[in-house]
């Protein structure tokens, strides 16, 4: 579960709709990275994810939530999560 990512990387977890969009539950990305740059990195990898998923999702770093506009630095070993709202039930 909490396997440490290798030096120079952080883990990003994709929940719900983000998992469907990327076809991944998680992956490693290069650290360090500013939170507000993360969107660009993901948009480049997954065309259209910004509008479809990231615009309405909850973004967390190490289980605490951050605003996408924040200048928070994601460091190596961090765990980032993309949590889109699930509305059905």
């Amino acid at each position: 579960m909490s396997l440490k990512p290798p030096p120079g990387f952080f883990t990003i977890l994709y929940f719900a709709g983000a998992k469907d969009y990327t076809h991944k539950e998680k992956e490693l990305l290069e650290a360090p990275l500013e939170v507000n740059k993360l969107l660009d990195v993901l948009e480049k990898k997954y065309n259209g994810i910004g509008e479809k998923i990231l615009s309405s999702c909850l973004l967390t770093v190490n289980l605490g939530y951050v605003d996408t506009t924040e200048e928070t630095l994601i460091r190596e070993g961090d765990e980032v999560a993309i949590i889109p709202p699930v509305s059905s039930g």
Partner: protein, 521 residues
């Protein structure tokens, strides 16, 4: 006045007085147990009042037995049970979340359970909506629920609202409850319940589930005070604070479209009941009918439960099942519903000025193709019939999942179509057309070029190369993705010389107009 109306009137009056009597009794019990608790605290040892031969017990004899197993838990006790009995909880939505939540709340002896749902029980509900059973198909969900709940526990008062919630009914109903459970299934109702709960000063629990994922949050806890006092008062975030922007309508997936595993939504519903029961017996939410019912827990415990509640619990049931607690920040200072700068008020909601469907954006049916690029299901059927006996040498299946089985004997002329089914693999495995090729839309969508060859793509190319086909048809469940697939295939030049058309209305239309036996999944 005739006898009939007099009877009616008397019944109403009796019911009214009985309700008032019940409230008075509850207040009395509340005060009594508070007094006895205070005297306990003074003496610091447990001393029972002198036995006088005619003690009045706060609970009915059966209730001690029925609720004994939860009452003996530290922190519950008699005060906890009295609080549960005084509590009024409203469950909005009696589906996959609402059913298990209602069962456990009824079992725990909640005083009054309100339930709102306008739907009817369907066969496709039964794998997860555990209050409803096969013989209830066609009944209103709330009627089915009350029947089942009464047999679990006849004690609670069950109040039903056989309708879908709108802002006006919500504003009328919410004030008489202590806690709201959002067990609904659309973004619209989630924002609506949040806004009204904030305005009525009610904490609420919001949970949801789709496929193998679930989410749960306790929101507006403690509740946001009225507008004037909002500044500086610490209260919990609302749904808008966590998700200020609704997801784009075309990315919202329902259980009908995305699927749902019963136990996943069940776990979330059970967790809602757990959180509700804890909030009530611990005394961390105010009860309208509770008078000053005490709780065995100290104020400091309620404080820690507050911190605990500022989290979102996510459950993931795929692969290794995991739960994660995500810390939520407090309110947004610019929240339009619950901050000092809020712009949503009751008058605004009652006037209908906030259209939740517009706010969440309506999913517009996809319509990207011209008439000449689409065919109807009847035409597809005819084309398939006409070419049924055509001699397409059947290639050995590359893999059972990709190519549908082919039982057609080769003989007469008429070129068959190439059928590209863009539903996902799971749906394709349930039912598919003979000789159709499965390229799921989400896979097709991600193709940048045709070099990343999959078995399905290779099959499509080989059929194109053989050249004895007429037209490529794309088909999906409802006829949306298949239109986008036409454009994508064109862009990838995967039609060769053939024209690419969409089967309009997809398999839904196919079942309606061509094949009545097509599985209705």
């Amino acid at each position: 006045m005739d006898a009939q109306s007099r009877i009616k009137q008397l019944r109403y009056q009796i019911a009214d007085h009985e309700a008032k009597l019940a409230t008075l009794k509850e207040q009395l019990l509340g005060l009594e147990s508070e007094v006895s608790r205070k005297s306990l605290a003074k003496t610091a040892i447990t001393i029972t009042p002198e036995y006088t031969g005619s003690r009045i017990w706060p609970l009915h004899a059966d209730e001690y037995t029925r609720y004994g197993r939860q009452m003996i838990l530290p922190g519950v006790g008699l005060p906890g049970q009295l609080r549960l009995r005084a509590a009024r909880i409203l469950i909005v939505g009696i589906g996959g979340l609402g059913c298990p939540a209602a069962m456990y709340l009824a079992g725990a002896g909640i005083g009054a359970l309100g339930m709102a749902d306008g739907d009817v029980v369907e066969l496709s509900n039964l794998h997860r909506q555990v209050l409803h059973s096969s013989e209830k198909v066609g009944l209103k969900k709330i009627d089915s629920a009350v029947m089942a709940l009464k047999s679990i526990n006849p004690d609670p008062k069950y109040i039903t609202y056989p309708e879908h919630l709108d802002p006006v009914t919500a504003l009328d109903i919410f004030p008489s409850y202590d806690l709201i459970l959002d067990c609904t299934d659309t973004p619209q109702t989630r924002y609506l319940i949040s806004d009204v709960a904030v305005l009525c000063g009610k904490p609420f629990i919001s949970a949801s589930a789709l496929k193998t994922d679930g989410q749960l949050m306790i929101l507006n806890h403690p509740p946001t005070p009225h507008l004037q006092q909002r500044n500086g008062v610490s209260s919990g975030p609302c749904y808008r604070c966590v998700f200020p922007r609704p997801p784009p309508a075309d990315s919202v997936v329902s259980c009908g479209e995305g699927g749902i595993l019963g136990p996943v939504v069940g776990i979330m519903g059970v967790l809602m009941a757990l959180e509700a029961i804890k909030l009530i017996y611990s005394g961390s939410i105010k009860l309208e009918n509770g008078g000053s019912l005490p709780s065995l827990l100290q104020a400091s415990d309620s404080q820690s439960s507050l911190k605990h509640s500022m989290t979102m619990l996510t459950a993931s049931g795929s692969g290794l099942s995991t739960f994660r607690s995500i810390r939520l920040k407090g309110k947004r200072t610019d929240c339009i519903a619950c901050s000092f700068n809020a712009t949503i008020d009751a008058k605004y909601l009652r006037s209908g000025s906030l259209d939740y469907a517009v706010f969440c954006g309506a999913a517009i049916p996809v319509s990207v193709l011209g008439k000449e690029e689409r065919i109807g299901v009847e035409e597809l059927s005819k084309h398939m019939q006409d070419s049924k006996h055509n001699s397409i040498p059947s290639l050995p299946n590359l893999n059972g999942h990709v190519l549908s089985s082919d039982h057609l004997a080769p003989s007469s002329p008429g070129r068959p179509p190439i059928i590209v089914d863009v539903r996902d693999e799971a749906q394709f495995s349930i039912c598919s057309l003979p000789r159709s090729i499965n390229i799921p839309w989400n896979v097709l969508q991600s193709y940048k070029n045709t070099h990343d060859d999959t078995d399905a793509l290779l099959e499509l190319k080989s059929q194109l190369k053989r050249g004895n086909y007429a037209n490529v048809y794309t088909i999906c469940r409802l006829g949306n993705d298949s239109q986008l697939a036409v454009r994508k295939l064109e862009q990838l030049n995967l039609g060769g010389q053939l024209s690419i058309k969409d089967v309009s209305g997809g398999f839904k239309a196919w079942k309606q107009n061509v094949d009545k036996d097509w599985p209705d999944y």
